[in-house]
Each structure stands twice: as C-alpha cells, then as structure tokens.
Symmetry: C2
Subunit: 196 residues, 2 copies
C-alpha cells in the first residue's frame, strides 16, 4: 500500500471530523452509530478508526477544535467576537455537549481526557486576559482567572439558551453588561454613560 | 371506594413528585421507566398516573416547582440567595434538564406546555426587579426584562457548570460581578471599592 502524503492525511482527517460533527449534530452522540458515521463521512469504519481510535476520540477532537477557535477569537478579536460566535453556533451541535455533560461529571477518565487536550489553551487565554488588565480593558483588582471564570459563566449560559432554542438577548446588552462587570478603567460605566 | 380527603391527596401528590424527582435524577429522564418510578415512589402506575397524566407531566410539574422556589427566593431574599441555591442543586437532577433541552428546542408542543405552566411566575419576578430598580438596587437605565435576561444567563451558566461537576466560582465573586453589571446607584462599583 503506498504511503499517503502528510497533506492527504491532513485533508482526510478534516473530512472525518467535519462529517462526524454533522453526524453527531443530526443524530446526537448516542444516535451516531458507526454505520451512520460511515455514511456521513463517506469512508469505511476501517479508514475512520485509523485516524481516530474511537467515537469518543472524535468527540474530544471536535471539542478541542471549538475551544481553539474560541480562544483564537478571544485573543485576536476580543470578547464581543466570542459572544457573537457562541450565538451563531449550531444548536444541534451544542446539544451534543449537553448529552455528554453527565459523562464529564461521572466519568473521571473522560473528564481527564477532555481537559488534558485543552490544557495548552488555558495559558494562552490567561495571558490575553492579563494583557487586557494591563491595557485597562479589564479591571485589575481581580485575578485574571476569576474574570475568565465569570466570562465563562455567561458564555455557558448563552450556549445553553441557544441549545434550548430560546430567543437570545441582544449582543450589545450581553457585551455591555459584561464590560460593566469586568471592564477596567478604560471601560468603566459612569453615571454619564447611560443606555436606553 | 371512599373518597380520600383533599389533604391526603395533596400529601400523595407530594410523595409522587418527590419520588419522581429522585428517580429522574438517578436514572435520567429516559432511564426512568414506569417500573422504576413505581419502585421509587412506592405506588402503582395506576395510582401515579391518576395524579399525573404522563411521565412528561411529572417532569413539567417538577420544573414548575423549581421555578417557583427560585422565584420565591428572589422575591423574598434577593439575588445572592438564588445564586447560592443554584450552586446547591443536585447535579444529577440538573442533568435531567439537559437531557430535555433538545426536546424543548425541537418539540414546540412540549415547549409550550413548559412555558405555559410557568407563565404566572414571570410577572412576579418582573415586578420584584422593577421594585429593585426603584430602590436603587438595580440600575434603571435598562428594561427590567433585560436585566432579568442577563441574570438568567449567569444562572444558566452556573447550572451547566454544576451539572458538569466543575469547581464552582466563589459565590461572592459571582454576586459581586453581577452587582457591578446590573446594580443601581445603591450598589455601583466605585474605584474606592476594590476587591482583592
């Protein structure tokens, strides 16, 4: 069998992930059987599991893609871009996360695998938050970790509402209130800056 | 068959709801079969479904209980009490909500039923928020509805993290940052009020 090129491998990897994402979104995690994954991806199970060891690996890799994209948006475009992105996510795909929440809580090995793969992103996000503190974009009287935890709460809330099909709040409202909570001297709400 | 008293009926209704809540939490919504509901509640299916028409009715009623309790806390004890309550909720029970999120989004009839039963609570919460605005507890340059939407985002985010088994952020942090976002003249953050 000829060895396929690195480029071809990367393409095929992308094809598998993209098909798996659509399959999970359409059928849910449990409902995405191997036969359905094959049909959606357009490759045999042999080929698929040659790239990813298991269905679980596929999900973890997709979660890592999401986290990396969010981090990239945050680092290069800021908070508002991340809020907008969460509001654009496919509700059916978000539902796959919800399906696995119980597992994350009750299966320490699964949690460890998800967290381990995302570890590299944590310091990047933290460094960007600390930079925002120095620039007066974020308040500097709290640890950057705590600011990040609060932002995550709001983003998780948005994701959950989106997965439920709820009418989302205005982006300007969410970003404006977040800034009032975590903004630094350059963003602080003053009595003169009223909204209507 | 003798007619049982109103009081006895109310007790039995409570017994059914309490058992159903434990059964859903333990087995998940899908996993809570009629046989398991009977075992946990300690009554026959005939008795159970004499009080509640279906498993779905049981869930809707439990969701209404939760919403009413949260509303009551908010009206009588304020925001911090609600935040504390969410952080105390049973993660396994929260998981049942997550299991039904997809259904809420894709089944308009189910959504309607859940929303309809909670309709009475909306104006009560709104009136309390408007009162908080008049008292300077909440800012008055936004509609009370928008303030409520933001608070809900944060509470939903907390619930999702709790269901995932994540380490929760400090209550004081969440309440403090919420107040900085939505607080009125009586609560506004000033440069003099720094946290460490």
């Amino acid at each position: 069998m000829p060895k396929i090129s690195e480029e071809r491998r990367a393409e095929r990897r992308e094809q598998i992930l993209e098909g798996a994402r659509r399959c999970f979104a359409e059928h849910g995690y449990e409902g995405a059987t191997v036969a359905r994954l094959e049909a959606k991806i357009g490759l045999s199970r042999g080929a698929i599991f040659n790239y990813f060891g298991s269905k679980e690996d596929l999900f973890v890799e997709l979660a890592v893609q999401d986290t990396a994209r969010m981090s990239d948006l945050w680092v290069h475009e800021g908070l508002e871009a991340v809020v907008r992105e969460v509001l654009e996510l496919d509700p059916a795909w978000l539902g796959v996360y919800l399906e696995l929440v119980r597992r994350v809580r009750t299966d320490p090995e699964f949690r460890r695998r998800v967290e381990e793969r995302q570890e590299a992103i944590v310091p990047v996000n933290r460094a960007r938050a600390e930079e925002a503190q120095r620039a007066g974009e974020f308040r500097d009287d709290l640890d950057a970790r705590e600011i990040g935890a609060f932002v995550n709460l709001v983003l998780n809330g948005l994701a959950l509402q989106r997965a439920s099909g709820d009418e989302p709040p205005r982006v300007e409202l969410v970003v404006g209130l977040l800034e009032d909570a975590i903004g630094g001297r350059a963003r602080r709400r003053t009595p003169a800056r009223r909204r209507s």
